[in-house]
């Protein structure tokens, strides 16, 4: 099959061995690539006995069958590991250039095992794979590492960790191309534990395409749709993702001051409109992307990429801060230190509430824009209170006696939508396999934007079927791997046709969505094997028991329980949220799951 290179690179840092082996093409058919392939490989590689920050945990960087083909937004790749923040299966994906370059180097995936004795970096070029001394890079920030190792105008691309990863912050990101991030769940800490500072790639071979004529036609069709969609041709390029700030605030779903309110009086000041008017320098794009949603912004102190909507919320409304310059600088600092901005901002907001309730002795108080940068620095280097912040809001709030003040699911901090004002978003958060995540299904489109269809955001009954369908679609997109913004203009039907043209194997839309369902169920089985149960599919008690006091979502809590029961039934799971044997068989997972369970149990 075309689309895949057919090769997996496997590096064990403990003994500096480098191996290459063939990708099982049946595995490729079932799990595609990216997130799906990562989940399948992690199932075999990392069982329950392995701690996330043990050298035995692995990092799996994976591209997909569409990566580097030149299809619109075919630049993305993912990393899969066991999360040091949540203990769940984790995948995070990123755009930019590195993923495309890695695929062109001739690999579908890279598995990194073990731990080097001293800091190293890996270089992958057409001349081979080498492991190099990184002593001179250890301690350096992301921009400096990227510059020293040589991005070379995207003919060579750098992926690295910053000080946060070295210091094992559980919310450390892996950064690529200097400014993009594989952020959520702390994969940077796993890389730091391995003493792996960076991975540099140079590639030269574009992947093969089976049906060139068909592929070119689909490129043309997709380009037309991206150009005519007002979302991808106007709103995102003009205002970036923060364009939704005012909308979410208006409907009363903008989490404010650690989810104590759902409307922020400073929303306009931190909106996409304000960012464009006052701080935007220019737009930027990932490889093969005609949308260009990336902001390059500048304040008196910094110039750099971002901030995205979620970041602007995390350091803005979540912390009660309406100083957009301070938010841009906080975002820049996180990129330099290698930190997930959602978890970082949310954890600081949690510390602010702990402080204001007298449970924590600190200077962190809502509205203190001047405290953002010092808190982020302390977190990245684990200095003073930063040592607690670096472990995430759940461990922080638990230590100071109020775990209910952590706005997280399975330990992963929630993004910028209050589930009391978007019922389906709550179900999405509660059931997401990596913890609270807004990218595991597009409920924003359905519940707020009316895309691809309009459903009532307060509706409870019948909501699960939408959540499930969009979770499955998201898992498929993450396995191809393309950008979800493309999906807003070009439906999954086109992705199936593109995959068919590239691979030469007929994938129907149903086949593609079924692959996503397969990935979702394997991730679920992974978490169950780790000991997660139905009780982990929940939301913070504030969202379940404290009705919003005012605004358009006044009086609402999230009605999770009836949605969850309906969700399990519709998924084909039992009442405890365990996929039935029939469901596993239907998804061709039965053999994988049962054989590996017995292997793990016998260890």
């Amino acid at each position: 099959m075309n689309g895949w290179t057919g090769k997996i690179l496997d590096i064990d840092l403990s003994d500096a061995t480098v191996k290459t082996y063939e990708l099982d093409m049946e595995m490729a058919r079932l799990f595609l690539g990216g997130r799906g392939l990562g989940a399948r490989l992690l199932w075999d590689a990392v069982g329950p006995a392995i701690e996330p920050l043990s050298p035995d945990n692995v990092l799996i960087f994976a591209t997909g069958p569409l990566t580097a083909t030149g299809y619109q937004t075919s630049n993305r790749f993912s990393v899969t590991t066991k999360s040091p923040l949540t203990g769940t299966i984790l995948d995070a994906n990123s755009g930019g250039f590195w993923g495309m370059q890695f695929k062109k180097a001739g690999y579908d995936a890279l598995v990194v095992r073990g731990r080097a004795e001293r800091p190293v970096y890996v270089e992958i070029t057409p001349n081979g794979v080498t492991i190099e001394d990184a002593k001179h890079l250890w301690g350096a920030r992301v921009g400096a590492v990227t510059e020293q190792l040589g991005q070379n105008d995207n003919r060579r691309n750098v992926l690295c960790i910053g000080p946060a990863g070295e210091n094992l912050s559980r919310m450390a990101a892996i950064m690529n191309d200097g400014r993009r991030s594989l952020a959520r769940g702390g994969p940077g800490a796993v890389m730091g534990r391995k003493n792996l500072k960076a991975i540099v790639v140079e590639g030269k071979e574009r992947p093969g395409i089976q049906d060139h004529e068909g592929f070119r036609f689909l490129l043309y069709e997709s380009r037309k749709m991206l150009r005519t969609s007002p979302l991808t041709s106007q709103a995102l390029p003009e205002f970036g993702t923060a364009v939704v700030m005012n909308l979410i605030n208006h409907i009363g779903a903008l989490p404010t001051r650690n989810f104590q309110q759902s409307q922020f009086e400073g929303a306009e000041a931190i909106s996409g409109e304000a960012l464009t008017e006052k701080y935007l320098v220019k737009n930027a794009s990932c490889w093969a992307c005609p949308i260009g949603c990336t902001r390059i912004s500048r304040t008196q102190k910094v110039e750099g990429e971002g901030p995205e909507y979620e970041t602007t919320w995390a350091f803005g409304a979540q912390c009660g801060v309406d100083d957009l310059a301070a938010i841009i600088e906080a975002n820049h600092l996180c990129n330099e230190l290698g930190l997930d901005t959602i978890s970082t901002g949310s954890t600081i907001g949690c510390a602010m509430e702990l402080t204001e309730r007298g449970l924590l002795d600190s200077d962190l108080r809502f509205g203190r824009a001047d405290m953002l940068a010092p808190a982020i620095e302390a977190l990245a280097y684990r200095r003073d209170l930063g040592d607690d912040l670096a472990d995430g809001s759940l461990r922080l709030a638990t230590k100071y006696g109020a775990p209910e003040l952590s706005m997280s699911v399975k330990g992963l901090e929630m993004p910028a939508y209050d589930p009391r004002g978007m019922q389906g978003q709550g179900l999405l958060y509660a059931t997401s396999n990596r913890g609270a995540c807004h990218m595991r299904g597009n409920m924003l489109g359905l519940e707020v934007l009316g895309l691809p269809k309009r459903i009532d955001r307060f509706q409870v009954q019948g909501k699960s079927s939408y959540v499930i369908l969009h979770q499955n679609i998201a898992a498929a997109i993450d396995s191809l791997v393309v950008c979800k913004f493309t999906h807003m203009a070009v439906g999954e039907e086109y992705f199936a046709r593109v995959l068919s043209a590239v691979s030469g194997v007929e994938f129907s839309t149903g086949d593609l969505v079924r692959a996503g369902e397969r990935v979702w169920n394997l991730e679920r089985m992974y978490n169950l094997r780790e000991g997660f149960t139905r009780s982990d599919d929940t939301l913070p008690s504030r969202l379940l028991r404290e009705p919003l006091a005012d605004g358009p979502s006044k009086g609402w809590v999230n009605e999770l329980e009836p949605m969850l029961a309906e969700y399990y039934r519709a998924r084909g799971w039992d009442r405890q949220g365990v996929p039935t044997q029939d469901k596993l068989k239907e998804l061709e997972l039965e053999e994988i799951v049962n054989s590996q369970q017995s292997t793990v149990n016998s260890q």
Binding site: F239, T241, A242, N246, L247, P415, V448, P552
Partner: protein
């Protein structure tokens, strides 16, 4: 009189983002064209009255009261991959 606030690219049609509902500006031809198609709101243009989507109320027949806040958004999307 209800207040109308325009967002995103719609602001290029007005001198200030917040306008009185019946002002001349609201009848501006370019703005009308941006909002309506064949006398119906353009697909994906979002009109909120006090945070509730007009489509869940009585559409363009929704009665407005003096203290109502009307927010009009062009087609937008959000989130970060």
């Amino acid at each position: 009189m209800a207040r109308v606030t325009l967002y995103g690219g719609l602001r290029r049609h007005v001198s200030a983002p917040m306008q009185q509902l019946d002002s001349v500006t609201m009848r501006d031809a370019e703005l009308q064209a941006a909002l309506f198609e064949n006398d119906r709101p353009r697909p994906h243009v979002r009109v909120l009255v006090n945070g509730r989507n007009l489509e869940w109320m009585r559409g363009l027949d929704t009665p407005l009261e003096q203290d109502h806040q009307v927010a009009i958004f062009p087609p937008i999307a959000g989130g970060t991959p």
